[in-house]
């Protein structure tokens, strides 16, 4: 039940924030903070003291599952269709839930001073998006999964459409349509899968555990897998489905960008690891070379595009696609190092991208532009901001000692065992990354302050958020084993290749 509580608390907090706006415009953010802290408290308990929540082997129910599930609950929803509420979390899920709640707090921090209009509805949307994401990370019934997949979409649409920047209508619409249409393909695939399971087993079921190992006729399996792949590759995003992302990220308000880059993209990667490959192991492996090629193209192409951007947020958005290319590569190598690396990259990129978007958003909030050619010499004006930008840029590039390095290094290591060419090409991407990242620092913080910009340096709230994310990245960089240990049992149960 603890997982259900995590979600229900967020839903309830959202409604509370909405109602509280009538009292005062400040109250919703306090309620949102309290809600997220409560969730964080529960997540910390789950991570470090599961016993206090009664989470041990005995608390699980038997669903014929494989793998080590820390929590698993189930009850009926629409029995006629075989749809039920199945929530579960294993090491991988738990890591991502922790990431979600933590970055939720960070985005709250960035909204704290930025969002002044219609605060109640804003925090309502924020918390509901997070609830949807946690639902995605825990739902183990494919119908339920699809349900949460859409639940996280609509509040995000509102966040972009109401609080976004100059071109918000276009961006919000594009975001929604890309996700929804690819989601519909996934729904179709889910139904085909359930239908073939019905034919062989005689009962309708959408349970993940029932559908694992469903035999699909020759030729059908590939198309069904493709439906899932397209939905997740759109969310990830991978070239050529990445088109929505630069618009959505640059037009979204800062907290929206933080959630988009930090968390929403990870749902795509999670979907690939949890659903696409385990549900269709053979066709996925046959498809792996194509997927890895897409990954390499994503890394190189978007790195090149990022290099030519003048809009700071668009640049960071393109780098996100590039880093997600590593995730795609690692996942489809389906080796222990590759997938572990993908998971580490997801976590570390969550932190670094969120921090960079907060910096870009903070800059825009202060100087009302995102165009880099109008900036310059800002280190002198805001040294704390400059330092933070340098730190997180270097982290994103893959400086040893920080989480991103571990992730991308492991991905390359894992990929090398499968395809040395892909690994070599991807490694070039890391070099390009260094170029475009340092250009940002140079253009924005060094050089001459042409427009004589002057503004307030980072506030206490912002420093606090950045500090926490720094600690997180350092932790991942120096003690990645703590996280690798958590995801390992999950990956083993899914049949990832482990080399001795």
């Amino acid at each position: 039940m603890i997982l259900v509580w995590l979600i229900v608390i967020l839903f309830a907090g959202g409604i509370g924030a909405l109602v509280a706006e009538k009292r005062s415009a400040e109250l919703p953010r306090v309620i949102a903070l309290a809600t997220l802290l409560l969730d964080l408290f529960l997540v910390v308990l789950m991570l470090f003291a599961p016993g206090t929540l009664g989470l041990d082997a005995g608390s699980q129910i038997d669903l014929g599952q494989t793998g080590e599930w820390l929590v698993l609950t189930s009850s009926d929803w629409i029995p006629q269709f075989g749809v039920s509420f199945i929530f579960g979390a294993d090491g991988l899920g738990l890591l991502l839930i922790a990431l979600t709640v933590f970055l939720g707090l960070m985005s709250l921090g960035s909204a704290w001073h930025e969002i002044k209009e219609r605060t109640g509805f804003f925090y309502f949307n924020l918390l509901w998006t997070l609830a949807g994401v946690i639902g995605v990370f825990t739902a183990l019934d494919l119908f339920l999964f699809f349900f949460f997949w859409e639940v996280m979409l609509i509040p995000m649409y509102f966040i972009i459409a109401i609080w976004g920047h100059e071109n918000k209508e276009y961006a919000a619409m594009k975001f929604f349509i890309f996700t929804q249409v690819s989601g519909m393909l996934m729904l179709l695939s889910i139904l085909v899968l359930a239908f073939f399971h019905y034919q062989s087993a005689g009962v309708f079921s959408f349970s993940y555990f029932d559908l694992l190992g469903t035999e699909l006729p020759e030729g059908v399996g590939f198309w069904v897998m493709l439906g899932f792949f397209v939905a997740f590759a759109t969310k990830l995003p991978a070239v050529p489905f990445h088109n929505w992302l630069p618009d959505a990220h640059s037009q979204a308000p800062t907290p929206g960008s933080v959630i988009l880059a930090g968390i929403l993209l990870k749902t795509g990667a999670y979907g690939l690891i949890r659903f696409t490959i385990p549900l269709f192991p053979e066709v996925s492996m046959a498809f792996a070379p194509t997927a890895m090629t897409i990954g390499v193209i994503s890394i190189l192409y978007t790195a090149k595009v990022a290099f030519s951007q003048n809009d700071l947020k668009r640049l960071i958005a393109y780098t996100s696609v590039s880093h997600m290319g590593f995730v795609l590569l690692g996942v489809y190598s389906w080796t222990a190092q590759g997938v572990q690396g993908a998971v580490m990259t997801m976590l570390a990129h969550g932190f670094s991208a969120a921090a960079l978007f907060m910096l870009a958003g903070g800059l825009q909030h202060r100087i009302h532009t995102r165009q880099m050619d109008k900036m310059g010499g800002l280190w002198g004006v805001a040294p704390k901001m400059g330092f933070m930008a340098l730190f997180f840029t270097v982290a994103a590039v893959g400086m040893p000692g920080l989480g991103n390095f571990i992730g991308e290094f492991l991905v390359l290591l894992g990929t090398f065992r499968i395809s040395s060419a892909a690994a070599a090409l991807a490694a070039i991407g890391m070099v390009v990354a260094a170029v475009y990242s340092l250009i940002v620092i140079q253009k924005v913080f060094h050089g001459e302050n042409k427009n004589n910009l002057a503004f307030e340096d980072l506030t206490g709230v912002e420093m606090f958020c950045f500090g926490l994310m720094m600690i997180g990245l350092l932790w991942m960089g120096f003690y990645p084993q703590s996280m690798l240990d958590m995801s390992e049992p999950t990956l083993r149960s899914m049949g990832v290749l482990f080399f001795q």
Partner: protein, 486 residues
């Protein structure tokens, strides 16, 4: 035996009695409030009789009508829709000091026709129902024509509907004649046996069936018989538009599905091809043309064309899969569409009256901040029409996908996905406009209190959209039991 028959026909009898009572009361005393109250009361009473009808089902009430769980479900839906329309009509016409009372007589006769249509098991009853519904609708659409100030151009809409409806009525009649000439029966159930007896299959029967289908497609506004829809939707008073969108379509759909399934017409390839083309064209053109609209009623018109196309997918699937699943899905989708449409038109009603209708998309700018309840209801409806989870529309779409996958209708499913993708755009555009900052309106129609009846309809329907989306299980049970007869 006869007592059972009377119980069976109780709904129809109650509706007839109410019609007569309303008519006589109008003759004695003209009072808008009294007449509308009487109408709603009569409709409620006939709705409630289903409690008595249910235990004696199914029964063939004369050769013409069949009352079973299926027809009872649609009758209930129709009567509930009529109640909602009556509630929307009262505040709409109330401002007008003209003669409003006859509207309710027309509403009653139209509803009677719709119920007869939904229950019909014979071409005579079918024709009787269609004409009773149609003739009442001509007058309802043009009802505001004599009023001093009318919101729209009701006469144009009425004439358009009259001419096209009469034309397709003639086509349908000819089709019935062809079918009868070939197989010598007018009872739906008897068609397969008669067909078998008639032996060698000439094209005459199929042409006849197709002509009847064309007549049905007109009422359901499927492409290419959809031309009237946007103009009539726009020109008719809002409550009548709501009636057209819901009751008229539900009744026609109920009987068409029964006819197609009972007569085994889906075994003919030609019929399948024609239906497939109509479904695909409706999904694509309906959605594409909706993109161009800046009037919400026209937008709903085109969106309804698309939705009827979606529905048709399940009808076509019945040729491949267990007919019960198809009937179940069609019934669910129709009900979901019914509820969504009524909620949508209730929102327009809430800010409109017979002198001024606020139905331009620009009238909805900033509605979210002007009147959040109205806009939340409309957003719910739009998301449901787009098929987003947690709403009835999603479960409906789920049915379509399920039956399409089982029936292997990959072409139609592709069209469905393309159509829905286009559809998302105009639903989202309307939502976006509602979320825009509000302009200062000197005379904001959304600032007025929403009339009680309209609010009741709006609340009930919005709650219905959510309820069916979150807890569909009880309704699915009901539908499965009614569909098991097929």
């Amino acid at each position: 035996m006869y007592s059972n028959l009377i119980i069976d026909l109780m709904q129809i009898i109650m509706l007839t009695v109410t019609t007569v009572v309303v008519m006589l009361t109008v003759a004695v005393k003209r009072d808008h409030g009294l007449i509308s109250g009487l109408t709603v009361f009569g409709l409620f009473a006939s709705l409630l009789t289903f409690v008595f009808i249910k235990p004696v089902l199914p029964l063939e009430a004369t050769q013409l009508l069949i009352i079973d769980e299926y027809s009872l479900f649609f009758s209930n839906l129709i009567i509930a829709g009529a109640i909602a329309v009556a509630l929307l009509a009262y505040p709409y016409f109330d401002k007008n000091k003209d003669q409003n009372e006859e509207f309710y007589i027309l509403l009653m006769t139209a509803t009677l026709g719709a119920v007869v249509l939904a229950c019909s098991n014979h071409f005579v009853a079918f024709l009787l129902g269609v004409e009773m519904l149609g003739v009442s609708l001509y007058a309802m659409i043009a009802y505001t024509v004599h009023m001093e100030k009318t919101a729209k151009f009701p006469l144009e809409a009425g004439i358009k509907y009259l001419i096209l409806s009469a034309l397709t009525g003639a086509v349908t009649l000819f089709g019935i004649a062809l079918v009868y000439a070939y197989i010598g029966t007018m009872e739906f159930d008897a068609i397969p046996a008669a067909l078998a007896a008639a032996g060698d299959l000439g094209p005459v029967f199929v042409i006849g069936v197709l002509m009847i289908v064309a007549g049905a497609a007109f009422k359901l506004s499927l492409v290419p018989f959809h031309i009237w829809t946007p103009d009539v939707y726009e020109g008719a008073p809002v409550p009548v538009t709501a009636y057209l969108a819901t009751v008229s379509k539900a009744a026609m759909l109920a009987v068409t599905l029964r006819l197609l399934l009972a007569s085994n017409a889906l075994e003919f390839n030609v019929v399948i091809v024609v239906l497939t083309v109509m479904a695909a064209a409706s999904m694509i053109f309906g959605n594409l043309l909706a993109l161009l609209q800046d009037n919400v009623k026209r937008l709903f018109a085109y969106s309804s064309i698309a939705h009827m196309g979606y529905l048709l997918v399940m009808v076509i699937a019945a040729s491949q899969i267990d007919a019960a699943l198809s009937v179940e899905g069609v019934s669910f989708y129709m009900m979901a569409y019914f509820i969504m449409s009524l909620a949508g038109f209730a929102v327009i009603s809430a800010i409109s009256n017979s002198e001024k209708e606020y139905d331009q998309i620009s009238d909805f700018r900033g509605l979210f901040w002007r009147n959040s309840w109205l806009s939340i209801a409309l957003i719910t409806v739009l998301l449901s029409l787009a098929g987003i989870p947690l709403t009835a529309g999603f479960i409906g779409k789920f049915y379509i996908f399920t039956s399409g996958v089982e029936g292997g209708l990959w072409f139609l499913l592709t069209m469905l996905i393309i159509g829905s993708a286009i559809g998302l755009y105009y639903y989202l555009r309307l939502i976006y406009i509602m979320l825009q900052p509000a302009e200062d309106l000197a005379n904001d129609p959304a600032a007025n209190a929403i009339p009680l009846g309209v609010n009741a309809v709006l609340t009930a329907m919005t709650a219905g959209v959510i309820y069916l989306g979150v807890f569909p299980a009880p309704m699915i049970d009901t539908l499965q039991s009614l569909a098991s007869a097929f």
